[in-house]
């Protein structure tokens, strides 16, 4: 698939030196900021895309979020994990962008999507499955979408996602549950037909 590196591992690698990197970036060390950007670029772009849908818009929002984080580094509490703090800023940047640009609300999910489509046993069909997943994601409420992506794609814990989204941990569990209930059948149908 697109990103062979397990997301949780990617985010956790070198976390012990993360506080040092942030401290260096805060004091104006561009190389340290570059390392942080490289480390979180993929997660930031995926989170932004989960909010916005459009990949170009998502990249713009992810960039806004990363640069906003650079400006706000003085506000970061080094006793807390950096990733959730950063992704919260990125998610907010994406939400702001969506509001500003009045991106079309997602169309209600076609029941046919949940019921599954043709078996995606070719590259084209695999692409079609991804498209169906994107459409299914777009049909979810934004918070539910983010909770699912942060949990199943980025590998954050419920507590960390609660901190990112500013909602109770129980609500995160509920959002992930409802999101999976809608998306899981797409994969199940694909496998059954395979």
């Amino acid at each position: 698939m697109a990103d062979p590196q397990p997301p949780q591992e990617a985010l956790r690698i070198g976390q012990q030196d993360e506080a040092g990197l942030v401290a260096r970036a805060r004091s104006g060390d561009r190389a340290a900021f570059g390392v942080l950007v490289q480390r979180y670029a993929t997660a930031a772009r995926r989170v932004a895309r989960a909010v916005l849908g459009d990949p170009d818009d998502a990249d713009d929002a992810a960039q806004d979020g990363l640069l906003s984080a650079l400006v706000k580094l003085d506000q970061y509490d080094p006793n807390r994990p950096f990733g959730p703090w950063l992704l919260r800023i990125v998610a907010n940047a994406a939400t702001d962008r969506r509001r500003r640009r009045r991106v079309r609300r997602a169309e209600p999910l076609d029941p046919g999507l949940v019921a599954g489509g043709t078996r995606p046993d070719t590259t084209a069909e695999r692409r079609a499955l991804r498209q169906r997943l994107r459409e299914a994601l777009a049909a979810l409420p934004e918070r539910r979408r983010l909770a699912l992506v942060l949990f199943d794609v980025e590998g954050y814990s419920h507590a960390e996602i609660a901190a990112i989204l500013g909602i109770p941990e129980g609500t995160v569990r509920s959002e992930v549950f409802h999101a999976r209930r809608l998306l899981r059948p797409l994969l199940a149908d694909w496998k059954e037909e395979g």
């Binding site: 698939m1 697109a2 990103d3 997301p7 949780q8 104006g28 561009r30 900021f33 570059g34 950007v37 490289q38 670029a41 993929t42 772009r45 995926r46 895309r49 989960a50 990949p55 998502a58 990249d59 992810a62 960039q63 990363l66 640069l67 650079l70 400006v71 695999r126 499955l129 991804r130 498209q131 997943l133 994107r134 994601l137 699912l148 992506v149 949990f151 199943d152 794609v153 590998g155 419920h158 569990r173 992930v176 549950f177 409802h178 999976r180 209930r181 998306l183 899981r184 797409l186 994969l187 199940a188």
Partner: protein, 111 residues
């Protein structure tokens, strides 16, 4: 398959992988380069702002110093002039002594 249960409280690797494919952001290097280039611009912009702020303070300080120096020079000159009697002072002020010859000559020449 336990991982497919929606209420399972651990990440679902299968769904996660499928979603990663669906949300694949593409070329990461180009994006990182773009962000870092923009960060450089922001830093340069912030330095411009800092320098401009200092420049304004510098100009204001220089103006104050120039005013103070002008005032001081003016005071000194006035004090220096004030120590020598003017023509009018010499003519108008009653003096028990005879007027100085040069003052009288100056008044005549001036008239």
């Amino acid at each position: 398959m336990t991982s497919s249960l929606p209420f399972h409280h651990r990440p679902d690797p299968e769904l996660g992988e499928a979603l990663r494919g669906a949300l694949d952001p593409g070329d990461s290097a180009a994006f990182v380069a773009r962000v870092l280039a923009r960060a450089e611009q922001i830093q340069a912009g912030s330095w411009d702002i800092v320098l401009a702020r200092w420049a304004r303070v510098g100009v204001a300080a220089a103006a104050l110093v120039a005013l103070a120096a002008g005032y001081a020079v003016g005071r000194t000159a006035a004090a220096t002039l004030g120590m020598r009697p003017s023509v009018a002072d010499a003519l108008l002020a009653p003096s028990p002594q005879a007027p100085e010859a040069e003052v009288v000559l100056a008044s005549l020449i001036g008239n």
